[in-house]
Amino acid sequence: MTRNLYLKRLVLILAIVLSGCVRDTTLDPGVERKVVVEFVLTEDSVQNLYLFLTKEPGELAAPAIQDAEIKFINVSNRSEPEHLFAKVADNQWSLDYSGIPGDEYRLEVKVDGYDLVWAEQKMPEKMKLVRAATEAVINPQPLLPYMKYGAYYNIDFIPDYLMIRGTKRDKETGEFIPVEELCTDYPGVEEINVTGRFYDGNPKWRTGIGWHWSEIGWEGADYVYHDSPVDGDDGVWTYMFPNLIGSNLHEGFLLIRRVDDNHAGLEKLYDFPIGESFHGKAFCISGSFYMNQAYPSSDYTQVLFHEYLIASSLSPDYGLFLKDAWQFKKTHEGGDLSSIYLRDNIYSNIQGGLGIFGAMVSSMTPFDGYYQEK
């Protein structure tokens, strides 16, 4: 055997034996499958509950639950009969029932082959987002511009978790759609859904004289708002809630965790003096609203009311779940590779299973605001 021939054979042998070094693995630790329940009790007339099983590692789909007994009990009112959810679609059950704020409930789910899973939940008390003032307010922070007009909101009691969303009419379809981005100066707003963008006051170039009181009474015309300065027309830059300029914009909702009963931190903002029509602490909310829609029409009230704020009081369990689930969703749906190393579980209050039995009470209030000169 020549040396060259030997070396060729040796290399061939080595190459063959080096093959097959890599194998796929599901890293299945053999954890038992779990029952998942997702249900948020509201004041709506129909309650929807999702019930299904977890998927094991490497599994494309979990076995479907064909039948289950789902009891819903008002613990605060024993005279009220037990309710049973009815299956309406794959993984979905429903019940005709409106949650009663302040009442406590128990949910029991029995799926064949699995232990009973259950959870208890107290429906939060109803709260309202109150428009506290739209009049002139003295801004106590000297470095900020004098607030000529604005909308200031107050909440009549502070829930454990307050979620504020917005809704507005789509300019083209006329349908109500969610307000994409929101910001506030309420202290303690969770940063889980900050977009990385900052509120710019939605600047508009305002032209026109505007209505004003004169010797002959009210005279003038509506201001006209433009996206950029108009040649030949005198005007001024105006902003919606200039006091919020620079605030973090949050995607879809504001989630505020209760700090204390007295709106800690708000006293530095707008502490309305006693003796006015409203007195107490208030805060501002703004975002991607269309406030200038209000002004092309002189029918101020009608158009203004096409934009709303939805304030929801969340049970503590739902608040924790919402926070975790949102963070998980955003982290894993992005392109951050390091998310594969996360091993944090989403909060659950389902005993013996996973998911959430939460509760939420909501109210709507008109969004209000003006374009103001800085």
């Binding site: 034996v17 080096l18 097959g20 998927k55």
Partner: protein
Amino acid sequence: MKIILRLLSLFPLFLSGLALAQETTWTDTLRAAVKTDTRSVMRTINKLESGADVLRGVVSPMGEGDPIRWSQGLPGVSTGADGSSAMYVHGGNMGNNLFSLDGVPVYGYSHILGLTTTVPSGVIENASLSKGGFEGRYGNFTAAHLNITTRDPATDRIHAEGTLNNFLAGANVEAPLGQDKSFIASARISPIGLEYKAFSSLLPARLAAFQDFRAGVGDVYGKFNWTIDSRSSLSASTLLSLDQYGFTTGEGSRDALGWNNEIAILQYHRILDRTDMDAEAYVNRYGSMQRQEKNYHGTDNILTLNSSMLEAALSSDFSPRRSSSWKLDYGFKARYARFAMGPAGAHNGKGVMLLSSYAQATRDIPEKLHLQAVMRGNYFWNMADGMMNLRPDASLSFKWNLVRSFALEGSADYVHQFYHTLEGLPLGWSTDVIVPSGRTAPPEYSLQGNLGFSLALGRHTASLGGYYKRMGNLVYYKYAQSLFTDAFAGWERSVDIGFGNSYGGEFLYEYLGRDLYFRTAYTLSKTDREGFATICDGGKFHARFDRRHILNMQGRWKGFSLAMTLQSGHWENGAPLTYHIYLPGLETEAEYYEGVNNFHMPTVFRLDVGYERKFRTKRAKHTVNLGVCNVTNHFNPFMLYYDAQAEGWKMLALLPVMPNFSWRVAF
């Protein structure tokens, strides 16, 4: 050369299990090797020591063994992933071991992806492994001490030696420099990058999982001795090593990892009137890096993790020459260190200071009793967070010969460690991240006891013992994601502190025959972690390398050798259960993890065979080792990595059935 080529030509035949013997002037090194092993000065259940020939005789993928391979076959030692140089002793973490070169810590001792150590075998005099009853002069570790002692350079004439094996090619030379000075120099470089290119061009499809493999691996060692006078001597030595690897695992997916050591040592020995004095100064820098570039969900990601440390120390040890059965050694050591970790890995902030002093009393009654007691005081100051504390260490060990062939042995240790190596790094990340203790992560401690007996009957020796260990202030990195974003200053916020427990029994049996040597070591143990507030709600979970059963067997008959290891699989973080969130606005596929280290990796089994032949030519002595590693081609995972394209985990085995070869020629 002809003989070597002839041996090489027989290699395919050898693979099929046949081996041919030739009448040459070979020497059976086994006898000498075993003699070294059994003639160890102190050979108890807690300390084993062997010479260079024994170390090299261990069957290894490199063709010849090294101190790590030797240690991994001993009882009480759990290995890391198959093929790696990691070892876990009595439930401690890898960073709880002290790996030292002439007593100086080597923090990155792994070489060639862990197949061997950074210390060239040609310069090794002997190695010892202590698992308890620790000596006073070494501190800042809690599990085991693997010490390598280097040879003094030859003073008679010029010696040269060359080595070649599958993964390394090296040479060393030693020579006298006048009457009183001498030196030894060694350099090794790895051709695995070139080997990969040869294989991949031959069979590209077979190596499709790994493309563009690049490696830069090498080491340099040098030692200079000066006998100043009959009472004093000076030696200066240095070890430089580099490991760098890069490979592509798919389009847009590149991995790189590497580590390096830079060590300079100055040692002075003086014989005083009644005492031997050893003074030492060293500077030690260790750095490691791992980097992943992957496209994930359409986004290019670069994740980088660096860790480095710089340590400088001064020490002096005094050892009175024995005049009675009692002996009292004492000494002190002062060291200063700086650390860096995180994506940048740059040294910043202030360092730490560790001052230690010890006294060690030994009583020897020949063939009856050996007793050793150590007291050690440690003063640690973290200048960054201002933490200062005083921690005592204490060790006690004994060997009591009840009868001539039967001895009772035991040890107890309460020791502290002031550097942490973080546990809980993300799956697939192997960087050793070393950080100092401080207010958030106090010094680790270990309280352990060992008790057993040893028996020596003719050619048979055996030992059987049990141990229990409690570990405290272990550090677990809980927010893996933040490793890639947090600065060094923030690591304390991302760790949990907890405890560890380990207990077990270990057995060692050796047979030393005329031509046959056989050794088997078995360890039955259980190791867990607990008390980490955010992990498993503070409950117990497996230590990562909690291998319940470890059985190692080695045998040599004349030039043939065989080694077998059978070990329970280690533990990795298992995959989650998944479920869908249907609630409006939150729709996503969610995950549920039931704990950490909850996936049992496959059992490790490896059978290696080897054949050693020594012969002389006119000018040189040759030692050739041929072998096959993992004869049964059992799939023993070496590491896990994430395939971003397939969005799934893969196991990589480093050692499939693989022939090995080493050739050592000495002039």
